[in-house]
């Protein structure tokens, strides 16, 4: 196994995470529900106006699907809902995980907390942190699926959350390069005002790149170190915080299997279900096995080539392709580009 792939696997969570689907009720209303309710309140929407038609009552335990429905309903009232909510959502008020964020000594630590306890801090989109020698890469991947029209909103929301958190806890604006897996919007006012002007569209991944030196600069909180929340979390005080969305778990599994022939049966064994059941579950989340496999391989190939500077042949070998032309063909199918275009 190559050195670079080992680095990629280091970003995976240790142990076997419990997974949640779109209909697992585990998000307390007081966490993300209250955040959305605060936004609705600020825009003058009464609960019976926007919650009652969705069949949701304030105070109930929410499923990811219900949270997505609430977001979609708010989006019809305000187009900037993602950015505005994002600005307020981290460190947030999500129990121990939020306290751990607040007690983080620098941005790198905060991002590690964010990735480890994503079920609490970012239940709809799973962040993954990759480190190279001089930069940090925060990639956003699906947690348990989202309708295609909502995907950009989630990405915008989580990116603005990280940027606003860095400004709030770090005391100065964060400069990072953002790439988006979508075509360029007609105009960039919201993105520029909330996220900064270093934006790239039409990329294969939704990712934030920032220099490592910036992420290691101590935050004001570092002067009064506190490890209570982090230690409590590490000792399992909030087991649900370690949960991961089903697609995130599948992604983790496929990354750990890179280089070996991946099969639907192997992944089904990971979830302890039959292949047919896994197929059905993925269909309910709006995706299928091959799409997820292609995505993981494309991400890995891009990572190895553009960040580790590896050549096509080495990447093909790492990913388990026997010949280069086969890899080139597959790469083209995943990304619409040839490896040489990078």
């Amino acid at each position: 196994m190559s050195e670079a792939l080992a680095l990629l696997r280091r970003s995976l969570p240790a142990g076997v995470a419990t997974h949640f689907g779109a209909d697992t009720a585990f998000i307390p209303w007081a966490y993300q529900g209250a955040l959305l309710a605060e936004f609705a309140h600020s825009r003058g929407l009464a609960a019976q106006e926007w919650l009652a038609p969705l069949g949701i009552t304030a105070g109930q335990l929410l499923t990811p699907r219900q949270l997505l429905t609430m977001l979609a309903a708010l989006q019809t009232h305000a187009r900037d809902v993602g950015f505005v909510l994002g600005q307020l959502s981290l460190p947030g008020h999500f129990g121990l995980a939020s306290q751990a964020l607040q007690q983080a000594g620098d941005l790198r630590q905060a991002l590690q907390v964010l990735c480890a306890y994503a079920a609490r801090l970012s239940p709809l989109l799973t962040p993954r942190l990759l480190e190279t020698e001089e930069e940090l890469l925060l990639i956003w991947t699906e947690a348990c699926g989202a309708p295609a029209p909502l995907q950009p909103l989630l990405v915008d929301m989580q990116m603005s959350a990280v940027i606003a958190m860095a400004q709030w806890l770090g005391g100065r604006p964060l400069r990072c390069r953002l790439s988006f897996n979508r075509t360029r919007p007609r105009e960039l006012s919201q993105h520029a005002a909330y996220l900064g002007t270093d934006l790239q569209f039409g990329c294969q991944v939704d990712a934030m790149r920032l220099p490592l030196a910036e992420a290691l600069r101590p935050w004001p909180a570092a002067q009064r170190p506190a490890a209570m929340a982090r230690n409590a979390l590490a000792q399992g005080a909030d087991p649900q915080a370690l949960w991961r969305g089903q697609l995130a778990v599948l992604y983790d599994h496929l990354v750990s299997q890179l280089g070996e022939p991946a099969t639907l049966e192997g992944s089904a064994r990971r979830f302890q279900v039959s292949p047919a059941t896994l197929k059905r579950q993925l269909a309910q989340l709006g995706t299928h096995y091959q799409a997820q496999l292609d995505q993981v391989r494309a991400h890995a190939a891009l990572y190895l080539m553009s960040l580790q500077g590896q050549r096509g042949e080495a990447v093909a070998r790492s990913l388990g392709f026997h010949d280069k032309s086969n890899f080139r063909r597959s790469f083209r199918r995943w990304t619409g580009m040839t490896p040489g275009m990078l």
């Binding site: 979609a72 900037d80 105009e187 006012s189 919201q190 709006g286």
Partner: protein, 297 residues
């Protein structure tokens, strides 16, 4: 993944003060059908002209749809009443026209024979009067949008919170200004630390401050100037042929603004910031705006 979002309910505006306009219209249509059924002679199936039936029922359906659209989109009032009465007259005329395809009226019923055309005509007169009133209403409403739009309206580009044009509207206007080749100044204004206010006082407080910012700036603008909410707390004023002092006056107006918070005790004084640049007639308008955003960070 699929999400099921409920449709918002249709609320119909009253016509002439009555909520039963639709029922009355349906009753009148039944009445017309009864008149035909009672006084006229049914045409045999062989005489039915299908192309006429199809086109006339399409006309009726279209007029019905317009009535629903009109009543769901407008508040009640004189304009709505006249527009609806006009359309209803045309719809009844169209309905009589359609019934005419199934029944043949004997020659001696002049009153019934004239029904179609007279209903149609009365409807058109009512609609014309409604349109005239609508024009006057629109002129009154346009005056409210002074400074918020310039000779062009696109409802998709109105920011709902501040009722100003949004980033897309601004971009269109900048490009239009560039094409006209008239010198203009672009001023971007913003609040420092607005996210901090929303963390400390709640989102509703930020929204109230943003809503107040628009009128504060609009009071300083001359006729022909334009104010847009670019995004977040950034407002952009497009000032054709501005003198040098105007941007500073805008900044001073913002600086002087004290925001009374809803708790009744806190009076927030936020730092306002401003950058300005003359509009370059050649350079892409969007990159000029992005440069201003970068300078204001």
């Amino acid at each position: 993944m699929k999400l099921a979002l409920p449709r918002p309910p249709l609320v119909l505006a009253p016509v002439a003060g009555s909520r039963h306009f639709g029922h009355a219209l349906l009753l009148l249509m039944c009445g017309i059908t009864w008149l035909f059924a009672h006084w006229a002679v049914a045409k045999p199936l062989a005489l039915w002209r299908w192309i006429d039936i199809l086109s006339e029922s399409l006309v009726v359906a279209m007029l019905g749809l317009w009535l629903v659209q009109l009543r769901t989109s407008r508040p009640g009032g004189r304009v709505t009443t006249w527009l609806c009465l006009g359309l209803a007259g045309m719809l009844l005329g169209g309905w009589a026209d359609l019934m005419d395809e199934f029944w043949k009226l004997p020659r001696d019923y002049a009153l019934l024979l004239g029904m179609e055309s007279s209903l149609h005509l009365a409807g058109m007169v009512g609609l014309t009067w409604g349109l005239h009133l609508w024009r006057q209403e629109q002129l009154a409403l346009n005056a409210l949008r002074g400074g918020r739009e310039r000779g062009y309206r696109e409802h998709d580009q109105i920011d709902r919170l501040t009722q100003l044009g949004d980033g897309a509207y601004l971009l269109d206007q900048l490009r239009w200004q560039q094409r006209r080749g008239e010198p203009a100044t672009v001023v971007m204004l913003g609040w420092a630390d607005l996210p901090a206010l929303s963390r400390q006082q709640g989102l509703a407080e930020t929204d109230r401050l943003l809503q107040a910012t628009g009128p504060v700036l609009l009071l300083q603008l001359r006729p022909g100037d334009l104010l847009c909410r670019y995004a977040a707390d950034r407002f952009v004023a497009l000032l054709p042929r501005a003198d040098r002092a105007l941007p500073d006056d805008l900044l001073a107006a913002l600086q002087a603004h004290v925001h009374p918070c809803a708790d009744g005790q806190t009076r927030a004084r936020l730092q306002a910031r401003m950058v300005q640049a003359p509009l370059d007639p050649v350079l892409d308008a969007e990159s000029q705006l992005l440069r201003l955003v970068e300078q204001l960070r």
